[in-house]
Symmetry: C2
């Protein structure tokens, strides 16, 4: 068995062990009759099981749909992943549908990443997670061909990664809430989801057990700008670092008003997706939360981070609920981030990759080429 | 003789053949007693001989001082270059003085490019050409280690390079002027330096023999905004593409006034040097001219191009009078540029590298790793 088949078989073995879904071979987007290319894309739905249910401002869930991607090129396998939290509008059907329409065989090699993104954008305007899965797999191949992890190719110092925050959600059950808080012990920063009606209780429950800095994610949950400002002051007094997406993404004027007055930096999340949104964000936000599933992957995420820093904005690096595949891809950018929230792989019980680690709360990059993962 | 010594000896041989300066071994910045690093920097002054004297708005010259740089790392040689046109304020003494102060041995490897730039900026705030020479040599090493040219690492399609313009300066001697115009025949775009008192004559002389598009570089030579606007209209009617640096770099309000009214895009050159200047340029210019000797090299030049494009600005790629070393390094970025003026190596009679070529007027990237050059 050659290395390529071994990796592929290993991957399928891991899927077999962890996934409840059927295990026919990866679907292939290489259609008979199309030009035979050297980039071969295959993909497979893979549902992510959450350790705890998520209580968000506008939804609750116990699983997240995902799609695992592989691209083979010249004997090298690149791994990618799409993760589709429901509020972003992508589904297993939309992702696999999009991937099925792609003909990557028309491109000379995986290094034609700008052309491939232009092509994917021409196939459909949205489908950002689907595009990210291809982008991540291509970056994995490029890194493996060059023998380098992406943080090195980008010229970054891996020691300069920030601590990751670990997300905690409110639970009305006090024993359950205490258990959740105990799980945050290894982390240097904790992130609290707000706007679900227990905002102050969550912070107060945390402060009973811990004095770690808190990141606040309001998930567009605050409607009144005066109350939002009052909340920012209340949070600042309790050692919070910043507030992410306090108000609805369309409430630009109110957010700008809040930013002018808030003692805490205001960070855009739902407000922005891709590169052109960064300039728009300047008018109302102090920083941006970059996520690969919004940005269409690593190529545009790097450009977004570069742009935000050049414009004097803070950079936060986030993720969805993901395996170590997409989280490790995002972690390559971590030395560029002021703050990071890369805990997506820690929130699931069925990870199928080994990659970046959290060591003493700090993002720690593996010394492996590409995105730095191996199937487990 | 191993490959490394061969390349180094070949390089010195080329210098011996082409340079009038003394040929002691490259000066080394590795000082006895300092920590023994694996990045070994050496450098040597090398004066560039111009084929034609330059008639600029504010100076005239027949040579340009330069410094050739080599960095050795783990058996790989990286080539770099500083070129110091007098108006930028750097000299052989300032460049060699700066390079002598550097201790690159403290860095783990050439991929620590962000740390190395931060360190160089901490050594001295200016010295942009000196910093560029180090940056270019490090990029050459990184590319050689990964086995890839930089356009590939950046994900760019080498077929998307623009045509280069070829610079022509006014000559009162009609036979000499005609000879200069004949030399432009292989090029698809010609660049005219203005602000020297023969602005219209130069364009009219060109238009007698050629209908190629013309780029106009006023080199801050226009003082009156009304006359500048009149000139923009006159130039637009004669097939000019844009006007570079029409007025003094400090005349921001007048330039913004002109930009609002000009039928031609207004491009910043002397106005800007590095990444933070790009945002400032937005208020008065439609685009920016990026040059490695201003930007401190390839790393920041790529970021500047990314930022300008994200802000909706035009990107022009320029150079100083340089050998094929620095010009080929700049050419790696060419697929990101709307326009390019990479003729620096064609303007000198003592080039010592083989690298990027102009084929039918178009920038053509060599299929070699790193910056794509070999000593000749």
């Amino acid at each position: 068995m050659n290395r390529r088949n071994f990796i592929k078989t290993g991957m399928l073995g891991a899927l077999a062990a962890a996934s409840p879904i059927s295990l026919s071979a990866f679907d292939s987007a290489t259609r008979p009759g199309t030009r035979s290319g050297r980039l071969n894309l295959s993909f497979k739905p893979y549902e992510l099981q959450l350790r705890h249910s998520f209580n968000l401002a506008r939804s609750q869930r116990t699983t997240t749909p995902g799609v695992q991607v592989q691209i083979e090129y010249d004997g090298v396998t690149g791994y990618g992943e799409a993760s589709m939290p429901p509020y972003l509008g992508e589904t297993v059907a939309s992702v696999t549908g999009f991937l099925s329409r792609l003909d990557l065989g028309q491109f000379a090699d995986p290094f034609r990443i700008e052309d491939i993104h232009e092509y994917m954008d021409s196939v459909a305007p949205g489908n950002r997670a689907a595009k990210a899965s291809v982008d991540i797999a291509l970056h994995d191949i490029m890194g493996k061909i060059t023998g380098q992890p992406w943080y090195k190719i980008w010229g970054l110092n891996p020691e300069k990664t920030p601590n990751t925050s670990f997300t905690i959600s409110y639970d009305a059950d006090k024993a359950e809430m205490k258990k959740k808080i105990e799980e945050t012990a290894p982390f240097k920063i904790v992130k609290v989801k707000m706007g679900v009606g227990h905002d102050k209780e969550t912070v107060e429950a945390l402060r009973k057990h811990s004095d770690v800095p808190i990141c606040v994610d309001a998930n567009q949950g605050w409607n009144d700008r005066d109350k939002a400002l009052e909340m920012c002051h209340w949070l600042a007094e309790r050692g919070c670092l910043f507030v992410e997406q306090p108000m609805d993404k369309s409430a630009i004027d109110d957010t700008a008003w809040l930013r002018e007055r808030s003692p805490l930096p205001i960070i855009a999340d739902e407000f922005l997706q891709r590169l052109p949104d960064v300039k728009r964000a300047m008018q109302a936000y102090d920083g941006i939360n970059i996520k690969l599933m919004k940005s269409t992957g690593m190529h545009e995420a790097y450009q977004m981070a570069t742009l935000a820093r050049a414009l004097g904005m803070k950079v936060m690096l986030g993720c969805m609920t993901e395996t170590s595949c997409a989280v490790s891809a995002a972690a390559q950018l971590a030395p560029l981030a002021d703050w990071a929230d890369l805990d997506g792989n820690l929130l699931i019980s069925n990870d199928i990759f080994d990659g970046m680690k959290i060591v003493d709360g700090k993002i720690t990059l593996p010394d492996r080429p590409g995105i730095g993962v191996v199937p487990v």
